[in-house]
Amino acid sequence: MSKRVLEILKSRFGADIYETHSQFGDDTAVVNPEKWLEIAKFLRDDPQCAMNMFVDLTAVDWLGRQTPRFEVVLHLHSFERNHRIRLKARIGDDDANGVEIDSLVSVWIGANWFERECFDMFGVHFKGHPDLRRILMYPEFVGYPLRKDYPADKIQPLVELRNVPDKLPPFGLDEGMPFGRQTHDYPRGEETN
């Protein structure tokens, strides 16, 4: 049903639509990141598309698997025409340079917090965002936790953790998750990981 939207996009933007596919009822277009804002505006304003609902925006980090490392994923829905579409744009190189894309807040105001979250978790810079700062993590946090190169066991405590030299009973050194990593950065006696 939404394949029609893909057709419209392809005929309107031509080579800026890199690829499209329709799997499992989801219609996806991978687009040129330069045209991100323009395509979004078109999708909202064109009467045949009429994407009046912003559903979701997030990112995927494909470190080591795909060369434009980040994929910004946008989901849209049209109440008027009852179709939905997914847009993707691939940005950034392996060293996370040039991870930036146009902000869609001027198109759908609901994009505001989603873009802030995406910035917070993946470090995607949204150009033209009115208030791009962290939304979930604390301002003192360094780095972007959902990037694949953020160490899985790295924590950044805001208060100094208590240093109890020997873990008091009932807990021993293997306290915590039996299946998890035991490599947190806080001091654990003479154990150094």
Partner: protein
Amino acid sequence: MTSGGAGTTIQVLEGSETGFATTKFDALLNWARKYSLFQYPFITACCAMEFMAMASPRFDMARFGAEAPRFSPRQSDLLWVVGTISQRQAPALKRIYEQMADPKYVFAFGTCASCGGFYDNYTTLAGIDKVIPVDVYVPGCPPRPEAVIDGLLLLQDKIARGDRTPAIVKPRRDPTVQAGNLVRLGKKSTAT
């Protein structure tokens, strides 16, 4: 304040007309403390559901003298930490603990508060004891109200003894013992 010791006895002397009792001052004080726990609930996550069950009439923790919640740390002496504490919340928790007046007790309600639970990640504090000292840990995700009542009784017991070492609520039935009694379904089918 030091402990009254395990061997504290209360003697009522016969033959006195008005009747009086002798005890140690500490023991009397601890006895009073253990039945007048003013609680500060620091409730952040799903364990709150079980805390509500605990506080409601069916399980009724008012029976143990832990009745009135005080929403000011300055008026309370038992800090319930119920739910997941994120790194971002840790300073607030620490500050609340510091604002409480002595004697103060901390109750880690649920696995998250005790050791971080299954949140082994960048945002979760792996147990509140990384920031503040804890008196009683109640495991469970969430713990059943019975386990919490066990914990409360354990805390009262510790208060009466003047014991400040951490304690943990044990499961009523040992899961490892239980696992040994399980019937092996596969065995039977191979035999026949």
